[in-house]
Amino acid sequence: MKYDMKNNIIRLSVLLIAAASLWSCKGDMVFDNVQPVAVTELQSPAADASIALFDADGAKTEFRWAPAKSDGVPVYSVVFYVSETDKDPVFTATADNNGTRSIANVLHTDMNRMAQTAGIKESQKGDVWWTVVAAYGTEQVVASTPRRKLTVTRMKGFIGNPGTLYITGSACEVPELADALQFRRMDDGSYEIFTQLKGTEGTDKYWLVDTPVDGPNKRVFGVTNGALVEDDAPLVLGTGESNSANEAYRISVDFTKGTFTKEKVTKVWYNYPNKTAENSDMTYAGKGVWKLDNKMITLHNLGDNPDNRYHFRATIGGKTVVFGHREKDTQEVPAKYDNSSYFWANEYENKSDWDYSFKFMPRTNGIAVNMTLNLSGATEHYSHAIDLGNLVPVAVTALGSPAADMSLKLDNISGSKQAFSWTRSGSAAAVTVYKVVFFKDAAGEQKVSEVEAGNSDAIDILHIDLDTIAGNAGVEAESEGTVYWSVVADVLGNAAMPEFAPRALKIRRFQGIPSNIYITGSASEYGETLTAAGKLKRLEHGKFEIYTQLKSGTYYFTDKTDGNGIRFAVNASNQIVESASPVTILGDAKVYRIRLDFTNNTAKLEAISKVTLQFSPNSARDADLTYKGKGVWSKEGYYVEFHQEGWGRDERYRFVANISEPSAYSEVWSALPAEDSRPNKLEYYEYYNIHVQTYNADRYSLKYKFMGELDYKTADVDVVMSPDVNNYHHKIYNVR
């Protein structure tokens, strides 16, 4: 057979080239003198076999037969019938590889449809018969063996979700078909709608349709004996089923399971944590929307701060559910009340008062708002809205100081500041907040910074901040340039810019404080070559930092690497001094963190004796890192093995730095305290940033988590505290 095949292939390939077609093996080929030969042996499934159809993506059953012994390459199909003798097939499946294989993997979704055509109901068992047809061009030959019986158990549920689903009928809120209310398609493929049913019990009806347009393609669904059926079997409003004014139903339909469930929504309310007196019931406004108007928001202190959390609750089918934020404990406070995704409402089973809360802007305290909870199927997401009603900002009518085009020379004296002031159209309620806004351009389009002034008509801004603002606006260090400013009035995110144009302010930036600082000398790991000097990381105006090694020798700092710079040294009392003489270091090399503050000419040198990777759940897996130079520590070949706990596998870790001089203490180098997620990739992103934090002996409180795929892997780990990177971070690489 193999050799026959090869001969065939040679012949076929000639034909193929002649036909200039790359797709061989297909039924549309030309066959020369090929005699039709029938398949003589069906192999599997065995005769009288039973199979269950599985509702899983890609599930299939393999049909197999012995290839027909012929010269040609037939195109095979598996053909299904409702009986052993019936002439018309209910379904035909082409064999694998465009019919060229003597195997057909038939998808269960196709077989489910086939079984339905053969009259087998959902979840039920029934018989079909199958055989194999070999086609040679237009000639077809049926297998010479008898058809095989196959018992098929259908999947649960309907074939094919309708896509969209509407409710209609005289018992509905909107009885007209054209305006029928739409169900929401849920993530799991089921449907739900919040709506009222009302009318005369025993008379008015409702049913489900897949389109609000009448026509031959409209599918209609009803319920018979509690199960969903596809036929015109409308439901009649039963005794006690009609909703009272403030009630509604949640109707859930699952086509895959064939279920229809109706639960009464008896109550929907605004829920403030732990203070039931603040809770207020909402009223049903129709079409899946609940409202609460003119609700006075009172935020009660929890500790020293007002608790600004809230969510919504409902009693559905006798059970309490929560409609809340997508995160269990969001730290986000919205900047305004709008229709952004922050306000989307997700449903949860009964939770604590605080879980899945939204947050008010704290200034909402004492304000009356209108709330809406929208559970309509017509919108893309369930959501809620906070409407401030007639609350509008009290506008700014004029700017006061500094005068237009004023020149301001910033000076280095700590605490130096400039007063900004403005006039308002009237007295502003505490809820209005004013912000001094700085722009790069006169038209006020390129905002660079803003400074909140609270509910006031003046604020002092520090020169040090103005230096940064000027820098952000493109004014070169140590030179003069113009920025533009104005004042915005903001009520809970509802902000108004004055009608008039921003005002110009000429700022001469700080003098005499270096913009760059370098370390050089024989004691430095950057060596004595000035052009190769190590540039310190600039933290803010006049403040610099570097993690570097100092060894026996001399070093100094300078602000330029061309030899024309000023040289600085640190004296015995940790003062920065301009000095031609470098600092001398004796003794063993140590790694230091050097911090220089030119705004008060102080320096701090701290020796770092050790950096350790702590594996939170098991100190036996802690590993010390080796200093590699220029601010980088490394551990080569760290074996990661998560710690098995009753609840799963613990993958937490962090870094700890031991400082030995001037006094001994430890720091944690980790993610921020709120971080509790796993990273989603090994490549650098902000997750891997190192935040230097006060030491906490609890090995779990400040930490990172390893990526799941690192379990049982070995990897190299670097801690990068180099002045060259934007963010100190660590990296895990060379995983093996």
Binding site: L12, L16, W23, S44, A56, G58, V73, I103, N105
Partner: protein
């Protein structure tokens, strides 16, 4: 001419990259029973230890990482059963055979102590972990000359109550299949997943119960379950065109990726279903699954089963070999196919024994890479996997 290649594959269905290096002759140079004495005894001495009167296999041989291993310990015991089968009829090894046999009840009583989810109980949130233990209990029951009833009743109870029950409980996910783990279910978790590693062994258990239990109704019931699991795995987690077994169904989709142990258990249950039903389809499936493994999941340079890593993964190859040797010994196997499989098995054994272990050391440690020896502290899974190959050479009937 790529279109031609697809035609050619019609005939080439089962013939992938056939092993090229032939160590068949060299295999005859070794007395595998003697080698088995060394490797298996060494393994038992270093890993099977007693604590508070209970005997179980430890994570490592170093006495430091001394915890029990709830599911790898089951596979380690399967190896001991292999060694018992090898020695039981050899008068020169009567003492060894007794030593292995004495371990049967010790293992059954001690193994539960290694269950992190509840010391002393067999119940564990991971379905596959319970399955491996149930398989071993049935192995003990089948191979001990005077087995204890509780090995069978416990196996049946664990399977009925905690393994098979997950089919109905989670049938709405993927239309069926056995759950992998209760640990993936809950808030902020991935939800139920159906894995090859829980379904292959589940079907193996049902086959074994059908074979062992005397009552005709029980036989039919468990055979029905074995087929149902098999059909599901074949329908959802198997590529019949290549013989690849996929890892799992989760979050509505099939996650591909083939490993030797999933190949092994699916091949194993296909073979057992052939033995129970005589339906050739199952034997063809078993051969195809085996072929995929020995041609695709190998280290291409040395043609040995690939290094799948440490931890859980270093147990995988031993599991494949456990079921592979049963298939190689199948009398109905096509002789040409058997010859090809034997060649592969002998090749594994020779490479492992000549390159994969340092014979100068007492420990005789195998690594996850069968072409490189291990030294010092070693994981249980890597060691029993290597030992299983050696014992497989002893179990070879042809």
């Amino acid at each position: 001419m790529f279109a031609m290649a697809s035609c050619d594959k019609v005939e080439d269905l089962y013939y992938g990259d056939v092993p090229t290096t032939d160590f068949t002759d060299q295999a005859a140079d070794y007395d595998w029973a003697e080698v088995g004495d060394k490797t298996t005894n060494n393994f038992i001495t270093r890993w099977f230890r007693e604590t508070n009167g209970y005997w179980y296999f430890r994570t490592k041989n170093d006495g430091v990482d001394d915890g029990g291993q709830y599911w790898p310990g089951a596979h380690a015991m399967d190896l001991v059963v292999d060694a018992y089968i090898r020695t039981k009829d050899d008068p020169a090894r009567a003492e060894l055979a007794k030593k292995y046999l004495d371990m049967f009840p010790k293992w059954f009583d001690g193994q539960r102590q290694a269950n992190w989810a509840g010391t002393g109980s067999w119940k564990n949130p991971f379905i596959d972990d319970m399955e491996w233990n149930v398989i071993t209990m049935l192995n003990l029951y089948e191979n001990h000359p005077t087995p204890e009833d509780k090995w069978l009743t416990t196996a049946r109870q664990v399977y009925d109550d905690w393994i098979w029950s997950t089919w109905d409980q989670f049938e709405d996910y993927a239309g069926g299949g056995l759950l992998w783990s209760h640990d993936t279910i809950g808030e902020n978790k991935d939800g139920p997943t159906k894995n090859a590693c829980s379904n292959g062994p589940g079907s193996v258990i049902a086959c074994k119960l059908s074979k062992i239990l005397p009552d005709a109704d029980d036989k039919a019931k468990y055979l029905g379950q074995a087929k149902r699991i098999y059909d599901w795995e074949k329908s959802v987690l198997y590529d019949p065109l290549t013989g690849a077994v996929y890892d799992n169904w989760g979050k509505g989709k099939v996650n591909k990726g083939s490993t030797t142990y999933n190949q092994g258990t699916f091949m194993g249950t296909a073979h057992m279903l052939y033995q129970l039903t005589g339906d050739k389809m199952y034997l063809q499936d078993a051969v195809q699954i085996a072929r995929f493994t020995i041609t695709r999941l190998t280290d291409k340079k040395y043609n040995v089963l690939q290094n799948e890593g440490y931890g859980d993964n270093c147990t995988f190859k031993g599991i494949f070999v456990r079921y592979f040797i049963l298939l190689v010994n199948e009398p109905d196997l096509d002789p040409a196919v058997r010859a090809e499989f034997i060649k592969f098995l002998k090749h594994q054994a020779v490479v492992l024994w000549t390159m994969g272990v340092d014979q100068k050391t007492d420990e005789l440690l195998f690594s996850a890479d069968w072409t490189r020896p291990a030294y010092g502290s070693q994981e249980l899974g890597a060691q029993f996997s290597g030992c299983t190959v050696i014992e497989a050479m002893n179990l070879l009937n042809y």
